[in-house]
């Protein structure tokens, strides 16, 4: 048995154990008498609210996933629509950040002057929680949708910027010398030597950024409301629909994992071995 197969068996076993314990701990006591109409409405005679057991969540997930794109008004949209809104915001903000961060990172990495000049700004702006920008963004942009995108932009710019600058600054001098002895122009050197040499480091920054962006979008959408998976979680909490809350938590995890997998696939393409 290969290591992978054994690891998969252990994973499944763990999942099973967790689900069984979860299921067992969250059973409502069986009703001893017939339920009243009120009790039927509230879902049982139990006085205590419980986390829904996995069996219920799986049933709910099946329902939701079988019609992901229905739209029955602002308060009732399919999970696919909500995720699509969030992905749209994340990808827009993220791409905008990449367009700014990668060229700027090149400049910082190639010019010690720019590195020293811009470093104080980066060090002060980087630790700011992205949500702290929200009020200012709302005031300046005057649009909640675009403010959310701005928050994604501002949180995903730093890892890309810092990694690009680091990757570019640490390209081996030998490779730059190869470009010099072949009389490559600055631009050609940047594209044919420095970019491929720094690409793995840049991709690492991009991977960190997409992870952070996906973390932040949930919180941002809880604030701005309207649409998106973050809004959906909060809205279902307000609806006291814990089935949906747990289901959407799982969906957030799965989409985040897929985003990371996509970027790690790209980084495998441009990885090189010295």
């Amino acid at each position: 048995m290969t290591l992978n197969v054994r690891a998969a068996i252990v994973s499944l076993l763990l999942l099973f154990v967790i689900l069984v314990i979860w299921e067992a701990l969250n059973q409502a006591p069986a009703a001893t008498t017939a339920l009243s109409e009120y009790e039927l409405l509230m879902g049982g005679a139990d006085q205590q609210a419980r986390v829904p057991p996995p069996s219920k969540i799986i049933g709910h997930a099946y329902d939701e996933l079988s019609r992901p794109f229905y739209d029955a008004g602002p308060n009732d949209k399919g999970i696919g629509i909500q995720l699509a809104y969030s992905l749209y915001r994340v990808l827009t903000g993220y791409l905008a950040a990449a367009i700014v961060a990668i060229p700027l990172g090149f400049i910082i990495g190639m010019s010690p002057l720019m590195h020293k000049a811009l470093n104080p700004f980066i060090q002060v702006l980087r630790p700011i929680s992205p949500l702290a920008w929200m009020p200012l963004a709302l005031f300046v942009i005057k649009d909640s949708e675009q403010s959310a995108i701005f928050v994604i932009f501002i949180c995903s710019i730093w890892p890309m910027l810092i990694n690009t600058a680091f990757g570019v600054a640490t390209v081996r001098a030998d490779w730059v010398n190869v470009a010099k002895t072949h009389e490559l122009s600055q631009l050609m050197t940047a594209f044919s030597v420095i970019l491929p040499a720094a690409a793995p480091t840049i991709l690492t920054g991009m991977r960190i950024s997409i992870g952070i962006a996906w973390l932040v979008i949930v919180a941002a959408e809880m604030l701005v409301g309207g649409t998106g998976i973050g809004y959906y979680v909060w809205n279902e909490w307000n609806n006291l629909d814990l089935n949906s809350v747990i289901f959407s938590i799982l969906m957030i995890g799965i989409v985040g994992m897929l985003l990371d997998l996509a970027l790690s696939g790209v980084s495998r393409l441009i990885q090189y071995e010295e």
Partner: protein
Amino acid sequence: MSKAFVSVEGLSKHYPSPGKQSDLIVFDQVNIGIEKGDFVCIIGHSGCGKSTILNILAGLDVATSGGVIMDGKEISGPSLDRGVVFQNYSLLPWLSALQNVNFGVRARWPNWSKAEVEAHSTKYLNMVGLANSLHQKPSQLSGGMRQRVSIARAFATQPKLLLLDEPFGALDALTRGIIQDELIKIWSADQQTVFMITHDVDEAILLADRVLLMSNGPNARIAESVKINLPRPRERAHIIDHPGYYKIRNHLVNFLVNCSNQPARADSDRHATPIEIDPLVEVPHAGEEKPVTETGAGRKPAGSSLVSSIDSAPSLACRSGSDSTIF
């Protein structure tokens, strides 16, 4: 005095020292002339500035004073006219062997079609025996194969001057021998002008027309220019049978062991050329000790014979006492 093809004139390199001490002078008053088609090796102990000289020739480093003139033009930066093979191969690891050579060829002839570039690169990779590894990445190649790619890349761009910075330094002896043979083969086919740094006396004798011996730094000089007057083509297996081989070898080793520590000559003639020596030419008073003899520093009349004579350079007269063949 007619200018050589490559003329290094009064080259010196200083590094500022911390505090108020005077600058650290790595080397000073280095004068070298290299004729077209020459294979010149430079030998010296670590730290004497050999690599710095090579980097200045390549245009990657700047001299503190003095300059280099090649083909009538002063060297002011890196150029495709001067190809460099670095000790650590300096291949781009994300490109295959063929792509690495293509990289050089495309830079040299930007207007060539893809097919022309590939055909030219493949030809040179075949010359170094890598016909079967065209599409392998450097990480999949052994050290020797990587250095072959690097040599192919340098030769493929057909530079006017080829600079080799200890190209075989990191290779084992067997591989080194094979690649030396390949280097001779390409060099005799292309008649390149080559300037090479080496630590290996035998390698220098096998490859070079002339060996420049550098004294130790700081304040290093090129003390001697030793002519390797052995017939070509040379082969590793047979060159040691030549009667002059050990004479040359002893002279070189003797210098490295005994003479390279001598302080630099006092008379700082800016245009002092290194003393020219041909160990195969019998010196009038050559005794059992094989004394090393020189002409006066820098006073060699133009077109002088290779016969040396002792005159006014006592500080450089260095007598061999040890048995240098132990090396």
